[in-house]
């Protein structure tokens, strides 16, 4: 069925039509939430809440943008709220300790994989410490791989602002990681 028709029916309260939209977009919304949380259960909860929010405010959707872009905007705003509320909890693991758990473990498989996992954890911890606007743009671009145009539509920013903010975010992330990955990563590190 045509997406416009599905949206029209969903706006009229047709749960089945909305179910088809959910099937189409659940992967993207879940993946976005997972990019922020790295926790399957939390990402699942967030994705469910995003769809509920979208269903409730579907009457406001006027097809000025693509449904996917609108849904992403709903998701990003909801996830931002979640991050603000859980700010303290998300920063529980100090950056200095991130990666130690995986690097110190001896039964996780080949050594290379250990190092890689440890490094990922360090990068994730550094990402969680970035200001929200940098974290959001890095997640949309470098984790979810969205185009500049899509990000511009979702965040309602000009492409120039997307470009400069993304570059600033990458610089900040590198600054946070300089020195840290060298120690953890050995010859594979920075």
């Amino acid at each position: 069925m045509d997406e416009k028709e599905l949206i029209r029916r969903s706006q009229a309260g047709d749960g089945e039509a909305f179910g088809v939209l959910v099937e189409r977009y659940k992967g993207k919304v879940f993946s976005l939430a997972y990019g922020f949380t790295r926790d399957r259960v939390a990402a699942d909860d967030l994705a469910q809440e995003v769809f509920i929010k979208a269903y409730v405010s579907l009457s406001k959707f006027q097809a000025k943008s693509e449904f996917g872009t609108w849904l992403y905007r709903v998701a990003v705003n909801h996830i931002k709220d979640y991050l603000r509320k859980n700010k303290r909890r998300m920063k529980e693991i100090p950056l200095e300790e991130a990666g130690d758990r995986v690097l110190a473990s001896s039964d996780l498989g080949p050594e290379e994989q250990h190092l890689r996992e440890g490094e990922r954890e360090i990068v994730q911890a550094a990402l969680a410490r970035l200001p929200e606007k940098y974290r959001v743009i890095l997640t949309l671009r470098d984790i979810d791989g969205l185009s500049y145009e899509d990000i511009s539509g979702i965040l309602k920013l000009s492409p120039g602002t997307v470009d400069s903010r993304l570059h600033r975010a990458r610089r900040k992330l590198r600054e946070k990681l300089t020195g840290r990955l060298i120690r953890q990563g050995g010859e594979h590190g920075l």
Partner: protein, 164 residues
């Protein structure tokens, strides 16, 4: 090309947004600048690490769980609607009560204040000093005393004052 510009180009090149000419310029700079070469490899490494290796699937029965929640929401929506309005009504009543109280405090009628004799004279376009002068000008002590007594009694009606 300086290192600052090289970093800008380098960041752009991560997205493949660098044209052929600028890419060649960046490449030439990187060949001669170990510091920027290091930066380049750091950015590329971070980019490869920032993405999760695998993204799991949502938990099972994602759609079914969601639709059940929406159904529940639709079922409880009318009740929630009235609860919401009840809350609003309480809040509005409270606000109206406070406004009414504040209005009473601010606009309550004030007791007319007793005016002094001097003020009364002034209001009636009389000169209190003139009267005092006329009393003191009296030659007879008896008249002066009587006029002083009447003036001190504070009779509002000037026509009823003692005048010799």
């Amino acid at each position: 090309m300086d290192c600052k510009k090289a970093e800008r180009f380098l960041l752009r090149s991560l997205d493949g947004g660098l044209d052929h000419e600028n890419r060649a310029m960046l490449q030439a700079h990187l060949e001669n600048c170990p510091s920027c070469r290091k930066k380049d490899s750091e950015y590329r490494k971070i980019l490869s690490l920032v993405r999760p290796q695998t993204v799991p699937e949502p938990l099972p029965y994602f759609k079914e769980r969601l639709l059940a929640k929406l159904k529940e929401k639709d079922r409880t929506a009318p009740a929630l609607f009235w609860v919401k309005w009840a809350h609003r009504a309480v809040a509005l009543s409270l606000a109206a009560f406070l406004l009414f109280g504040a209005a009473i405090l601010f606009f309550r009628p004030q007791e007319p204040r007793e005016v002094s004799q001097t003020e009364r004279f002034l209001l009636q376009d009389e000169n209190p000093l003139g009267e005092a002068a006329s009393i003191l000008d009296q030659k007879k002590a008896e008249d002066r005393n009587m006029m002083l007594i009447f003036a001190s009694v504070g009779d509002r009606d000037l026509s009823r004052r003692y005048r010799p």
